[in-house]
Assembly symmetry: none
Homo-oligomer: 412 residues x 2
Amino acid sequence: MKAALVIIGDEILSGRKLDTNSSLLATRLGEAGIEVARIVAVGDYLEEIVAELSRVVREYEVVVATGGLGPTHDDLTRQALGCITGKQLVLDAPTLGYIEERFRRRGLKAPADIRALAMVPEGCRAIPNPAGTVPGLAMEVGKALLYVLPGVPREVEAIFAGDVLRELHERFGEAPIRTRTLKTVGISESDISTLIADLIPNMGVRLASLPEDTGVTLVLTANAGTEASAQAALDGAAGAIVGRLGQRVYSTTGEDLHTVVGRLLLATGTTIATAESCTGGLVVHLLTEVPGISACLDRGVVSYSNRAKVELVGVAEDLIERHGAVSEEVARSMACGARERAGVDLGIATTGIAGPTGGSAEKPVGLVYLALAHAGGCEVARHVLAGDRALIKRRAAARALDMARCYLLSLS
Amino acid sequence: MKAALVIIGDEILSGRKLDTNSSLLATRLGEAGIEVARIVAVGDYLEEIVAELSRVVREYEVVVATGGLGPTHDDLTRQALGCITGKQLVLDAPTLGYIEERFRRRGLKAPADIRALAMVPEGCRAIPNPAGTVPGLAMEVGKALLYVLPGVPREVEAIFAGDVLRELHERFGEAPIRTRTLKTVGISESDISTLIADLIPNMGVRLASLPEDTGVTLVLTANAGTEASAQAALDGAAGAIVGRLGQRVYSTTGEDLHTVVGRLLLATGTTIATAESCTGGLVVHLLTEVPGISACLDRGVVSYSNRAKVELVGVAEDLIERHGAVSEEVARSMACGARERAGVDLGIATTGIAGPTGGSAEKPVGLVYLALAHAGGCEVARHVLAGDRALIKRRAAARALDMARCYLLSLS
């Protein structure tokens, strides 16, 4: 089952408004087993709307269009529906009543041109809009079941989740397309590709590889005969990939890295404190995104100045003098100091050069030392990370969280 | 001058990834006087990529495509370029050298399949990628100037802002379409609308209002005869809006709030420390996004546990017992303690209930106390913020930074 989306509106083409409807509709349709194969955005020009709609209703089983249903002069979608169906626009009395009722309920005066909102091609059905005034429209045209929804994302979501989804299930059944998201850290896309290349042709699932700022995400899609066979195909493929990539896969359910670390901390009852320099609080910010983390997280410090490193986590002044603030020794001292002062199980520390200035030949921008202090000692990792300041912070924070993750996995 | 965008990648069609490249490219092209008339997203299928690209290069003067240039099996854009031009893919030695050099500089091993990244159709030029490894490609095909960029938004932005924009200006001249972005905090979209409604018809510029998580962004667009008249129209409109909204406008150049606060700290030589509870390090993380901030930021603490509040910023235990950790009194004590211990000019503190649990009738989820300690005393603000945990953190951090901004503005 294939679908196309047609996003109508100058505000999208001009870049003034980010189109979030496509992503929402593609996700929801995918969950319903309907694969979106084409997304087109067109402006508020009648010929272009007509050209695109007439094309996709001939080629796809399902078409969802959004936008251009409002009352203003540049809302042309109704008229375009008339053109592609060859049907007259007629006043739909139930739709008019529905719209009038919505205005009444919200205590608003109906606009003068309210009747324009109730003009629909003959044979077109109105679809209730639980989140707004103007209903959606549905019709059979070409080989497609065509839905037209208002452009407001909240309304698109509400209309789709209601009648549209119910109709699609009735028409096409509930489909066994399922996806699974594997997330990795600390391994490049090309290394992943090398490690799993031979698996791909035989996995029976489709694999998409998405390089993101702090790691590579792999999305597996199974389109099998039944729910059970789809899940089995995904289980097999995910297992085979994890077999090759090992601990570089931190989630097989699409969770964020900090969510995984938070879950492991909570599950093992491990307490933690952080001492950050180059990451500037990002590690503790990410940990505190996790609900309930206050049970495990005692404190974090951002010891930006050398004095703060001395006062907050007890780094010895002469250690900084001898090795520099960005050094293995200072990272270790920060992690141990954070752990001891807070009286917790784990101390995480970061120190490095986030840039854009402050680098040297010996200690370039992107150089970071990350440390993890635990009952058995203290590990330090050195990386030279690429990117601008913000990206170096994010990558360093991810690597630091990953050290905690690997340690916690060995506990559980 | 009309352009089309072709966004290539299953991750967009499946809804797994929100397409932000279209909006970015449409905005930048619009600023260059080139109107995007069509945006199409297609999946990683060779025939579909070829069909769409061959269509748009016949119909538009400029085509920008993104995605599918990576090293994996589903990166098909190079091959598609070969199909639409009828040219052989050949190894481009300068491109190979460029990619190898990028890997060398980052100290990474080049992947085995690196040569695949340097295969381009004859007659195709490589466009340097300041933000990544794989260069963009440019070629003349059909009636179009076609650019193909990697799909990573950061890289799209960097490549476009560099060579692509320069080439477009050389080819088509610079157009007098200009935009200006005003950013606000602490005022609702409807209040803004009420305050400026009468200005809009007479401003001579188009206004778009974009509600975002921590404030409302206003985008002004002037399409005047000359650069000077466009800038004059924007100056007039921005001035009139700022006249109505006053300090609620924190930027007229699109800067982030933390960037504005960082700039004011650096410009006034004001030093600062933070003590955060509910925002969990987000305030100090945002401040440390600003290059050079180490001159002003001494330290930050995330005093999550009560013990940490006592130890790190000297909150009296009985103050917590009497008023609770989420209280005006504790916020004030945290801000003053952060300021005094670090020996800095300003102390910022946050304490509140980010949720999802921990709320009560008296102290609901979303309740936050924000404090700013300075030489003249300590201000405390109380807000009840809407949203989930992540949004409450972001909104609280923005309001806290805004207190510092207002104080710094009175200094400068």
